[in-house]
């Protein structure tokens, strides 16, 4: 008997509006989705389509104006900022487009930061091991300014995996890099993801990168216009 996939992330009728000078602007409309544990999902769409906003809601960085969002069964929309932070510390990893390393910390210190925040006593060993995995063991004492863009993103990936998160959110991970480096970063990301069995949610407008995911969600003007899994089901 095939085991039913476990739902990892679930969103129901999510909406997000922001206040602007003359009233409010709705960025997300009525978004519902379910992502299973271990699944890799690409959210694609043009700039301003609402991809990053959706990512921020699913990761608990922000709260929706309406609707519900669950991460591993926990209702993010009902939690306080600090409760959501605790969930992020335990279950969530991030890779950002502009790397977002702390300039005052070394590569190793940047990698171990989330583990240290979660009071992990093995942080340093784990950090060194991860830097080894991303090929930067010799540069563990370098500061971000001393690293190239690709190297910085590798540090960011190591940082994302240090807490062995159940879910990894990546926001345009290769957009700031040249094609060759970008490719290497993507490879690294997918390799670590498959090794650790992490659920991957990736925001990109790069169709090739999106195609490497098991599933693609296309957004336009704050709504889903296309879900390849759903399509397959329709076809099937």
């Amino acid at each position: 008997m095939i085991k039913a996939p476990e739902v990892h992330i679930k969103a129901t009728k999510l909406a997000k509006s922001v206040k602007v000078t003359d009233g409010s602007l709705t960025i997300l409309h009525d978004i519902s989705l379910t992502i299973n544990r271990g699944e890799s999902v690409a959210i694609v769409g043009a700039s301003g389509s609402g991809k990053s906003t959706l990512l921020s809601l699913l990761a608990g960085l922000d709260t929706p104006t309406a609707g519900e969002v669950y991460l591993a069964g926990q209702a993010l929309h009902d939690l306080s900022e600090d409760q959501r932070a605790a969930i992020r510390a335990k279950d969530v990893g991030f890779v950002f487009q502009s790397f977002l390393l702390l300039p005052g910390l070394t590569a190793l210190e940047n990698v171990t930061l989330p583990a240290e925040l979660a009071a992990d006593k093995q942080a340093k060993q784990r950090g060194l091991a991860l830097l080894q995995q991303v090929g930067l063991a010799e540069r563990s004492d370098f500061f971000p300014a001393q690293l190239s863009g690709g190297e910085q993103q590798r540090v960011a990936i190591a940082r994302a995996f240090i807490t062995s998160p159940a879910v990894l959110f990546a926001d345009e991970p290769s957009a700031n890099l040249d094609a060759v480096t970008g490719q290497k970063i993507e490879d690294l990301l997918f390799k670590l993801n498959s090794e650790q069995g992490t659920t991957l949610i990736l925001v990109t407008h790069n169709t090739e990168l999106a195609a490497r995911c098991q599933r693609q969600l296309r957004m336009q003007a704050g709504r889903f216009v296309y879900d390849d899994v759903k399509d397959i089901a329709d076809v099937g």
Binding site: P114, L117, R159
Partner: protein
Amino acid sequence: MWASIAWRLFWRELSRGELWVIAFALFLAVGSVVSLSGITEGVKSALMQRSAQFNAADKVLRSSQPFDPAVLELAQQNGLSTAQQMQFDSMLFAGDAMQLATIKAVSDSYPLRGNLELKRSADLVSGEDTQLQQGQLYFEARLFDLLNVAPGDTVELGVARFTVAGVIVKEPDAPLSVFGGAPRVIMHLADVAATQIVQPGSRIGYRYLFAGDTAALQAFEQQMTPKLTVHQRWQDMDRESAIGGALERAERFLLLAGLLGIVLAACAAAVAAGRYSQRHTQAVAIIKALGATRAQIRLIYGSHLLLVVLFSLLCGALAGQLAIQAVQWGIGFYFADYRADFSWRPLWLGSLTCLVCALLFAARPMWRLANTAAIDVLKQPAVNLPLDKLQLLSGSVAIWGLMWLFSGELILSIGLFLLCAAFAGILLAGAALLVRFAKPVAAGQSSARRLALANLRRRLWANSFQLITFSLAIFLALLLYFLRAELIGQWQRQIPLGSPNQFLVNITEQQRSVLQSFAADNNLQLGQYYPVVRGRLTSINDEQLLQEATKEDRTEQRVGVGRELNLTWLSELPANNQVTAGDWLNTDAAQVSVEAEIAQRLDVSLGDTLTFSIGGQQLSATVSSIRKVDWNSLQPNFYMILSPDLLAEFPATYITAFYLAPERNLLLNQLARLMPTVSVISVDNIINQVNDIIAQVTVALSFILLIICLAAGLVLVAQVQATLEQREQELAILRTLGAQYPFLRNALLLEFTLLGAMAGLFATILAEAMLLIVQQRVFELPFQLHYNLWWMGPVMGMLLVTGLGWWQLRRLLQIPGAQLMRKVLQG
């Protein structure tokens, strides 16, 4: 774990500079408060001690009743040393000559502070030094001539006979009004009984002198005050010191400087902490996205602030204490007997200031930092954080609270605070107008100029705030610079270099020509001749006066003027006099101008008729004006000045004065031989004492000005640093677009020059307005425009702001465009 993150971030942040600015601001706040309050206490204590020397004791209790042994016993129980002194006027007889004199009888331990210098001779320069002994009298120099006696001769006082042993060279508590009264005589207290002068009803002033440490004196005063009888009262020490007024002004200056120092340091701390928080917004967003709670963020950044505060507190307190020691050493240098007391007050006041500044100015932005939303990690960091109204409010209340705490003066602190707030408001409006006005001007300018103006305009809000802080800093430095100059100038004007130090009294009409040729032969500049006619005030509005009281002891004897007065006539109001009621003398009428204190004591008002008895003749005059007299001016001062024609027929003697360099003192002996009846009164000692104090206070004032300038400079640095990041971004873009070094340099220099000139101009206007208020309200100085200020302010603003801006930003200009762009992109 957070501690290790905090510790690592702290060390890395130290190398980036902003933490140092916060640390230095707090250091300056602590250091300036500790040193200023310590120095104020030190100067005050020096003044009290100097004043004690002028009073021969730390504390004086006056009485019109004989000495009470219980009082002396209580003082001794409190560990104080004591001395006694009696003073009365009496006639001295030497053969056929007689003269009214003021006799001071003192106990063995007199004086408790300062020195009594006596010489075994009839003049001040020759003869050996000696000590007061029983059976001896010491005379003020002029009395030898008046009585026609020499040392070793015998005179009668009351029913007793005494040997005239020598001359009084220096008497610590002699009245400073040099033409005050009858010649002075010092005798031993034990000899008074033998004279039988003390009879029931005699007008005798008794003084108990006390000296000891401050705590013992305070304890004794507290125990004694409730026991005082109607005949006893404490002598007001400060007011009776010749330099009390000048020193009180110095204290107020220090106080004001302290208040301004706090405002500046608080501004610098707030600006630096604001920038620190702003720069860390994105880092906090990242850390929060990675799972940090608000509490963790607060612990991390709170610990940074705590370390900075502890560091600044320790260093500031240490530096402040060192400054206090240095100034105390300096005071000790000028003032040999100075005893420096250690006080905790400056230290706790400084610590409190530091904590309040840290909590309300620096902690608040850091506290807000933890509220950064994790979602901000996906956004561009804001260049300017919105104004924190709560911080503005709490910071303002804190500044005012510190001012109040520091000054202890509610009205002064509210007034100063409101003025600063009003100025800030006016500046903000002015800056907005000026920056807007720059828009049309920009058209048609060279591209560097256009860029500078565009930069100024674009950062309207940031620039307005910057302009306020620049203006405030320059304004405060200017204000203190000018007030310091004014105070010192005023003191020096009081006794200008080469001002008369030798006064000649009792010159007859015939001697004037002799004196004139003596002066010409010896190249001496004689001053104005003041005619003097001795007369007695006999009645006011036909009401006969009791002839008992003496003028000399103004505060003890309130009834009438019991002795002859020096009457003069002048057509012009003397320079150190100010008419407070009525009009100056009408030369055609029989009028008299009365000194304010004596007018009050005699209950004389405008229009009253005073009758004087001069050589048996009666003369009446109507009171036309009441005058305030500066008794500290070391000029001949008169209680009564009459219309010129009134006294013309009475034989007069004259007073004049001249400056004699100390090395030419022997000329005085020639003069004494030439005109034996003319008395020479030397005020060299008084002048030297006052000059010493002016010198030591000047050192303290200069030190304080330095602190304020440092604080002002720090505000400028903090403010320029605050815009560093934004400028980095702009420069990166401009460099990438191909802007050349000279273009960027010119634009930058021009922007700062304009900003500095504007700040300097605002500061000048504010400083002039504030000088007007402070001069009149705080220092009671006459108002005058400061022409130098009007060029100094804008020039100083331009040079300072451009210099500091260039110093801070020139490195940015030299970074290659690509590297700069990378730096910006990497944050």
